[in-house]
Symmetry: C2
Subunit: 443 residues, 2 copies
């Protein structure tokens, strides 16, 4: 189209936008760590103490001085005297002297004098009962069998090194170590790590408010029965879902009439109340031009990018009004959702102060057809994943799924409802070949 010349691809368009945004100053709040899943840390976190704070056994077995086991083997065991059992959850009230040992359980605290643990299955017990000697030949040594005999001698059948089968003090994390930088996503593992160190509360970033404005004289709220010529508002809700999925808080401003004044007034209110504003413009060229005019009039520097070299989504508008991003998305629901994924998610990450690049969850699959694309343009294809009849090949997962494009006009929301994900054909490619292994980004 003549109105879109020399368009930048999405990555460069986004970079241009980011260069015009100030560093985010996210608001923070302190919440229970138990409810912090999916939130973003607001501060660097350091370990208040070492983890563990005492030497722990990683196996069920016998606490020993490693030196006492040197050279031990099946044919030439080391003989140690059992002096007791280490309790769980308390300091052992015994001390291992040379040629002594004590029973220890997984997770138990190593007794003073011990520096290693021999696994139960590499030990045997000598029973001195009555006259004569009964030897349990390589039977499984169990805690019960060991404790049921008087003053047993333990046969050690394997040598252990100093520290073997032991977690050392601070081996999980050292005191004062930086455990998470500011801007980290709290996943189940982080919840566990924080709890392990006693952080039952954590300071996190407040979800940034993202204003959402729909426009179009043909658009009515979803609860209304559309008259001929009218359609229900989809974009307010798909974008709100996307905002929520990305860690933001959606503020829906409803449907604004196709007039410059109404548009300016709605955007202006949203800019006051939110950190970023999304507008799904009416679909026509004149509606888009009006959106761009409103952005230009509401703050500096205004529109930075008008039209992006991508399909769907070419008519996307990226602007900044006085430090806040304002994004005009195409009115058609597929374009709005696809370009929301491309542009909105990274901008919310930035507002949250997220420190790492986004790992886009995807699934590897084998493409079922040839796909062509214009050089310079980034294409996003809706994909249905089909379990492969051949089955998976292994760790790579290649061939576990077939990637079957869903063709259809780009404005049909049910092509996305039917899709499992999106396939990106980057600007420098002119297509993809049947049989190629591709990453399908889950939606």
């Amino acid at each position: 189209m003549p109105e879109f010349l020399n368009l930048l691809p999405p990555d460069e368009s986004l970079d241009k936008l980011l260069r015009n945004l100030p560093d985010p100053q996210p608001a923070t709040e302190t919440i229970d760590t138990a409810s912090a899943l999916g939130r973003i840390t607001a501060t660097d976190l350091r370990a208040p103490h070492a983890l563990p704070e005492f030497e722990r056994s990683t196996v069920d077995g016998f606490a020993v001085k490693a030196a006492d086991t040197f050279g031990a083997s099946d044919s030439l065991p080391a003989y140690l005297t059992l002096i007791g059992e280490c309790p769980m959850g308390a300091i052992p009230d015994l001390e291992i002297q040379a040629t002594q040992t004590a029973i220890i359980h997984t997770g138990g605290m190593l007794p003073p004098g011990a520096d290693a643990v021999v696994m139960l299955e590499y030990t045997q017990t000598l029973h001195h009962e009555g006259h004569g000697e009964h030897k349990e030949k390589r039977n499984k040594n169990s805690v019960d069998s060991v404790l049921s005999v008087v003053n047993p001698e333990i046969e050690i059948l394997r040598a252990v090194a100093d520290g073997e089968n032991v977690i050392l003090i601070g081996e999980d994390v050292a005191k004062d170590a930086l455990i998470k930088t500011k801007g980290s996503l709290i996943r189940p593992a982080e919840v566990g790590g924080l709890m392990a160190l006693g952080f039952t509360q954590v300071e996190v970033v407040h979800p940034p408010k993202i204003g959402i404005i729909s426009s179009g004289d043909e658009v009515v709220p979803p609860e209304k029965r559309p008259q001929p010529g009218q359609v229900r508002d989809i974009n307010s809700y798909t974008l709100a879902s996307l905002v929520s999925k990305s860690g933001g808080e959606a503020v829906i401003y409803g449907i604004v009439a196709d007039s410059l004044d109404a548009m300016k007034s709605a955007i202006s209110r949203a800019l006051d109340e939110c950190e970023m504003v999304l507008i799904t413009a009416g679909s026509s060229a004149s509606a888009r031009d009006m959106t761009a005019a409103a952005i230009d009039e509401l703050g500096e520097p205004g529109v930075l990018v008008h039209g992006v070299n991508t399909r769907p989504g070419k008519p996307t508008i990226l602007g900044v009004c006085n430090g806040k991003a304002v994004i005009g998305l195409p009115g058609n629901p597929v374009s709005a959702l696809v370009n929301g994924t491309v542009f909105v998610a990274p901008l919310i990450r930035r507002l949250l102060g997220q420190s790492t690049t986004e790992l886009r969850p995807s699934v590897s699959a084998k493409l079922t057809v040839n796909l062509s694309s214009s050089a310079g343009r980034e294409d996003w294809i809706s994909i249905k994943l089909i379990p492969s009849p051949v089955g998976g090949r292994g760790a790579g997962g290649e061939g576990k799924y077939l990637a079957e494009p869903i063709f259809g006009k780009s404005n049909l929301i049910f092509t996305l409802v039917a899709a499992d994900g999106l396939l990106k054909i980057p600007p420098d490619a002119t297509g993809l070949s049947v049989g190629e292994i591709v990453d399908v980004i889950l939606i």
Copy 2:
């Protein structure tokens, strides 16, 4: 270890468990579609009406009878008479007769008599003003320029086929079509599809309650300062996070003493109140045996799998008590979280009635080292993803990240905190090679 002979790999273990579970009868609730992101549909959903309900233009241009454009080209345009403009959001009050046309905007309703739309850029306008004729040669035809002239004739420079640039009635979705089966995940696209059809509320599955019990005499609540020999409870919170991420509702029962009676009483209460019970057993063999005994005594058929051929996580126990799954996970936090991911997420999907196989979000990456593994055993390796210095290759994403294993004892929670994901080495592989492209499952 002698106590674990002939172990099944995780997939077969899970299958054995699933065969012993009755079909789930999930409770349902009706909620606002706007808040339904991430929930699971409880019923099949059919379209109450076609979408769209009227023929819509997909472009800005001129509504025509396609037959009037046949053979039209730059050198031999078709000449049509402009009779007006189609309004947005209403039925056009004009009818296209032969050789007539009307302006139409993207998303507008096709006027009676028209069956196709010619894009604005493939048209020119003849201005009959005063004497003589002024022809705008291939200038962009804009709505304003067209409307500013009196009784203009439109030159059509391209032929269109019947239905071209038009979304037909029911082309997005037909009346009564099955739009989503029961058991479907509601993503942003589904929120949009539901709203498009006027479903402002939707019946979804109630999150199943999953009881979580920790045990171990050495374990104290996270808010307590551990004494020597004690550690804080991590597993209750990592598993609760995992449950919540998987769509369940976690019910934490706290830390239970290492005694059969205490364990039985806690599991029994959780079985009464929840759909599934997770227990992180004390780490020692005797604590695991006690958990198994408790499961066996509390219902039929009791323990089905005691020990799984996986690392970490071998001591995992899978059981069923009177129709409800009871899972004993190893006490060490990495095993508990990894095996929670392997076993708990699929079981919650089942309780939710999810109809499709799980698409595990992952990222393709190039392995930085050789990894060996025992045949028959499934290994899960913690992986740090590192942006590749070479950069991405394109659509497949191969080489965009390097997959660097994090080595460390399997009980260090901070190996998972440092990891981006997990790499599975399947039972039939004996290892993976440096440079191989692998799927790293995001955690």
